[in-house]
């Protein structure tokens, strides 16, 4: 009997599906301090009068959350999360904001962590402020009629946010030399070496007048230099 009484006393109906990161292709599904959920369309369609709240908690703090805690109280204030508050409540909306069914083609998401202006403002305990660390976090939706909770979803799977590395961890060492550069260097070095060797050979063997005199003849005007003067003396001798 006692067991039957307990659920009746609570009166909170569990509805599904549980919240999840959006399936839309968005670059910012998770960032370092925000994440994006799908809106709870059609989840609370039987509770037309309720106000739907989002409860955000650290993975290790979900057992401390009491569904009868009220939003906007110090026990659920965002500004004290996670030091003294194990779960905060934010992003309240009536069912009108989540019409069912969702029109095809619309992007219906909730960005958790988008309000930066009230992050330190204690007078706004239901602020949707940026999350203070990488998590992992778990969320659930809670429907309240007045201050009485009437329906809730199950806790989501743990959501871990991105952690940024320091730029000094980027390796900037040279990636080695490409094939093209090695080819250029090798081939040009060989060509230069051959040329220098040929130059040395050319100067050593042909530096003095020791090669090629019969191979090429110079242009006509130069042959005058080869004229042997002793012919002049011979001719008069032969005539006599």
């Amino acid at each position: 009997l006692l067991l039957l009484l307990l659920p009746a006393a609570h009166g909170i109906v569990e509805v599904g599906p549980r919240p999840a990161l959006t399936r839309e292709q968005l670059e910012g599904v998770t960032t370092a301090s925000t994440f994006v959920l799908d809106q709870p369309r059609c989840t609370f369609k039987d509770y037309g009068d309720a106000v739907i709240w989002l409860v955000v908690a650290l993975d290790k703090g979900i057992s401390n959350f009491n569904s009868s805690a009220g939003p906007g109280t110090p026990e659920t204030a965002f500004q004290s999360f996670p030091e003294s508050v194990s779960a905060y409540m934010t992003l309240n909306a009536t069912l009108d904001s989540y019409p069912c069914p969702k029109p095809a083609g619309d992007i219906t998401v909730l960005r958790v962590g988008s309000e930066t202006s009230c992050a330190k403002d204690a007078s706004r305990p239901t602020c949707n402020g940026p999350l203070p660390g990488p998590g992992p976090y778990r969320v659930k939706f809670l429907a309240l009629e007045g201050s009485v909770p009437v329906a809730e979803t199950d806790w989501s799977k743990p959501i871990t946010l991105r952690t940024a590395k320091s730029p000094s961890s980027i390796p900037t060492a040279g990636s080695g030399h490409s094939a093209g550069m090695i080819a250029i260097t090798a081939i040009l070095s060989i060509l230069l070496a051959i040329l220098l060797a040929a130059l040395v050979a050319m100067l050593v063997f042909c530096g003095s007048d020791s090669c090629g005199s019969s191979t090429f003849s110079k242009p006509e005007s130069v042959t005058v230099r080869r004229y042997n003067t002793h012919h002049v003396y011979d001719q008069p001798a032969a005539r006599l």
Partner: protein
């Protein structure tokens, strides 16, 4: 003798032709290197900031080598026609010196391509973009250049907007992650320079933000220039090698 006369004339003709080609290629090399040096492509301040201006050193050497090649080609033509040993010896030695310089330029340009990895630019961008130090002029240059680059080429970061999420940065120190997952310049902007849909941009809805990285837009023109200087120089040198060998053979056959 007639046969070897023909051989001589053929060899002379080939050498003159070879030198004409070298002269023209020298002019072309000078023109190409002047273009590379003076081309105001947008990414130059970033290259200057990374102290990686090998390509400019290579291009400057290329300008003077090109002019030298042209002058030496004329000297070579005169030397071949006159069959003068001294002229041709001077030609060969000066050509070898020019060959060495052009070799240096070509290898430098080829090395530049290897050292220009995205990581160097990524690190520079993360450390200096929007670094709020009003005294440091070169940081402001980096910021202005990146903003212009991202707006004109519709790109974001080096590899993509995820650069700003994966690493901490000088930008992240002054701009909160929730308000600025990536800089506003990564959003699709309207004619006034304001984001078309700021929430869409912050969420990363395609169509409202630039999803591709800027590395291709930046490195593309610079790498083409480096490629041009390196391989054109290499081609000229191969041709010069043949002409020089021919000239040396011709020189050794000239009567004293």
């Amino acid at each position: 003798m007639a046969k070897s006369d023909d051989c001589v004339h053929i060899l002379q003709g080939l050498l003159v032709f070879g030198n004409v080609v070298i002269g023209m290629c020298g002019i072309a090399l000078t023109a190409e290197c002047i273009y590379v040096v003076s081309n105001p492509h947008g990414a130059y301040p970033l290259l200057k900031a990374t102290e990686n201006s090998d390509i400019h050193a290579a291009a400057w050497i290329g300008i003077f080598v090109g002019l030298a090649l042209f002058a030496l080609a004329i000297l070579g033509i005169i030397g071949v026609i006159k069959a003068s040993r001294t002229l041709l010896l001077a030609y060969i030695i000066l050509m070898l010196i020019t060959f060495a310089f052009e070799m240096a330029s070509s290898i430098t340009a080829a090395t530049h391509q290897d050292s220009q990895t995205p990581n160097v630019l990524l690190k520079q961008m993360l450390e200096r973009y929007q670094k709020s130090d009003p005294n440091n002029n070169s940081d402001n240059e980096v910021t202005k250049t990146w903003d212009e680059l991202m707006r004109q080429n519709h790109c974001c970061g080096v590899n993509g907007p995820s650069d700003w999420q994966e690493y901490t940065s000088a930008f992240r120190d002054t701009h909160s992650d929730a308000d600025y997952p990536w800089p506003r310049a990564c959003c699709v902007l309207d004619a006034k320079g304001l984001p078309v849909n700021l929430d869409g941009c912050k969420l990363g809805v395609s169509g409202y933000y630039n999803s591709n990285g800027c590395y291709d837009a930046m490195s593309g023109p610079v790498n083409t220039h480096a490629w041009g200087v390196a391989w054109f120089g290499f081609a000229i040198l191969c041709w010069t090698f043949c002409v020089l060998l021919g000239t040396m053979f011709y020189w050794s056959g000239i009567e004293y």
